[in-house]
């Protein structure tokens, strides 16, 4: 086994262990902390008998470890239990919503990545120029603005003033591609707003780091033209950090959807999670948290693995 494969496998194994630990945390955080699930469902006026019956039904009188094993076994088979409020299987509720969330995230990513790449590379190559300074100030503003400020500004202009896009993003299982696109433009732009700014700044920093290396001076001293210095000498070294930055920001984006979904009343996983937290629908909270955490962790792992895979020191060990 080469050093490269070993390093990557170690990284992946670490992520799997982490995911297990996170699922333990997620299960016990809602299960062990103060507040009785049965009472939360039935309210304070419930009789002792009713509480006991519900506890038996939910399996609450069994030992915690056994319940975790039971839950984890179910999760591995795609069964997240039953919602307390609607009595429907969690998996059914979630699958439609997860699809919607991924749709929104994908659209936001499709807007942000090319934009961030263009802005980031541009401002790094023309460091200190008017373009760079303006980009720096605008992105600083974008990072500092809360999502709801951006969202309501967009709604006020594009939905209420000019009535181009709907102020609320309603989709159903029958929505066509164009319906979805129409509903998702404003939330996707809101989401892209901050992500582009973060991504662009990190890409700029990664490129400047490479451009400042001694080997770039060497390329110039060898009389290589600017184009070749950028494409042949800088790019191969900047590619790994740039890809890393992009994937890391995708992870950030996945979590960023939560607030945006609530603003636009979009039936995604994020909105569901917030509602479940408010209603203390614990099986739904567990399922939603686990899915978000797993996607986040996976993207982070992918970012790391890509960075490792592009490192010539590991690809060609001594």
């Amino acid at each position: 086994m080469t050093v490269l494969t070993r390093t990557i496998l170690t990284r992946i194994a670490a992520s799997i262990i982490m995911l297990v630990l996170i699922s333990v945390f997620i299960f016990f955080a809602v299960d062990m902390l103060p507040g009785d699930v049965a009472r939360a469902i039935l309210g304070s006026s419930a009789t002792t008998e009713a509480l006991a019956a519900l506890r038996t039904k939910l399996g609450l009188d069994e030992p915690a470890v056994w319940r975790f094993a039971h839950w984890a076994w179910g999760v591995l088979h795609g069964d997240f239990g039953t919602s307390i409020t609607t009595q429907e299987p969690v998996t059914t509720i979630i699958s439609f919503r997860l699809g919607n969330t991924l749709w929104l995230a994908a659209l936001a990513a499709a807007i942000s990545i090319p934009l961030a790449l263009a802005l980031g590379i541009g401002s790094a190559l023309w460091e200190g120029s008017a373009f760079d300074r303006i980009a720096s100030i605008v992105t600083l503003g974008a990072i500092s603005m809360p999502e709801f400020f951006v969202a309501y500004s967009l709604v006020a202009l594009f939905a209420l003033n000019w009535q181009i896009f709907p102020p609320i993003s309603t989709v159903t299982t029958d929505s066509t591609f164009l319906d979805r696109l129409d509903a998702l433009i404003l939330p996707a732009i809101t989401l892209a707003f901050a992500v582009v700014a973060h991504m662009m700044r990190m890409i700029r920093a990664a490129i400047l780091d490479v451009l400042g290396s001694p080997f770039m001076v060497m390329a110039e001293l060898k009389g290589m033209p600017l184009r070749r210095r950028i494409l042949r000498h800088a790019l191969p070294n900047a590619a790994a950090p740039i890809i890393n930055v992009i994937v890391l920001n995708l992870a950030y984006l996945i979590v960023g959807v939560v607030v945006v979904e609530v603003i636009f009343v979009y039936p995604g996983l994020g909105q569901l999670l917030i509602d479940s937290v408010a209603q203390r629908d614990l099986p739904l909270v567990q399922a939603g948290s686990l899915i978000f955490a797993a996607i986040y962790l996976t993207l982070n792992t992918v970012a790391d693995v890509l960075a490792i895979a592009f490192n010539p020191r590991l690809r060609f060990p001594r």
Partner: protein, 275 residues
């Protein structure tokens, strides 16, 4: 030319924010009304929108007819206090453990770093939602969660910068003198890593401030009737449909505060790079 203009705007903005924060600190004396007094009808417009005799509130009223300006002042103070407290808590946790791990190395460092890795591997919002789902929303819970979750991120930075100092020969000299942990942390490491930590404080404070505002907006942060910026946006959100600016004022205050802090920390970084 362009840069000068930006500079003027930047300084102007920071000036306004400083005045606003000072006013919010003295809200009792500055605010025209008490934050929870009902002084008019629902959603009176701002003074330039609604010139009728009944609407005498500068920025209009909120969804219950309370004075928006007064609530903004009190809300700014509340949100700022919680955000600042949480940031300080996160830095106390992060710096303490970070310096300790860097000095002690070995198993202690290993253990601290793995725990931090684990905390960072879960998105902040998800951890917060989980804990709130279990114990319910409250200011104490919020500050505690942020102290742990953002503390882990501060830990990483503090450990990293402290490691650089621990590799310095003067630090080794101090260890060879037999200096205790307290001296090593306060006299050898801290004075030499002030700059990166102060910069991080600015950035981290912004994140935390925006995060608390977002949580309140989701209805999971500070609880009513306490005025705070995030929940003011949420409560007044539907006013947009009537062309009333009520939700924009708190949102704009949040944005301006965050921009001002970010501008200042960036100016700090640039000044440091020049030196």
């Amino acid at each position: 030319m362009m840069t000068t203009l930006f500079k003027i705007i930047g300084w102007g903005l920071r000036g306004i924010v400083v005045l606003w924060v000072l006013a919010s600190l003295g809200a009792e004396f500055v605010a025209p009304y008490k934050p929870n007094d009902i002084v008019g009808q629902m959603w009176n417009g701002a003074f330039w929108q609604d010139t009728s005799e009944t609407a005498r509130q500068v920025l209009g009223t909120d969804q219950l007819g309370r004075d928006l300006l007064s609530r903004l002042l009190y809300g700014t103070r509340n949100t700022l206090t919680v955000a600042l407290g949480a940031t300080f808590a996160a830095f106390a946790v992060g710096i303490g453990f970070g310096f300790w791990a860097a000095i002690a190395r070995g198993r202690i460092d290993m253990a601290c770093s793995r725990v931090a890795d684990l905390i960072i591997a879960v998105p902040t919002l998800i951890v917060t939602l989980l804990v709130i789902a279990a114990v319910g929303p409250s200011v104490g819970v919020l500050v505690a969660i942020i102290a742990v979750v953002d503390g882990a991120r501060v830990f990483r930075l503090a450990r990293l910068v402290a490691m650089n100092i621990c590799a310095m020969e003067y630090f080794e000299s101090a260890r060879l003198r037999g200096e205790n942990l307290r001296w090593l942390m306060l006299h050898e490491i801290l004075p030499n890593v002030r700059m990166p930590l102060i910069t991080e404080f600015g950035l981290r404070f912004c994140f935390i401030f925006l995060f608390i505002a977002a949580l309140s907006f989701l209805g999971l942060g500070l609880q009513p009737p306490e005025a705070d910026l995030g929940s003011m946006v949420r409560e007044n959100a539907s006013a947009i449909s009537f062309g009333v600016l009520a939700p924009f004022f708190p949102a704009a205050v949040i944005a301006m505060l965050a921009i001002a802090v970010n501008l200042s920390s960036e100016a700090l970084v640039r000044a440091k790079r020049r030196a």
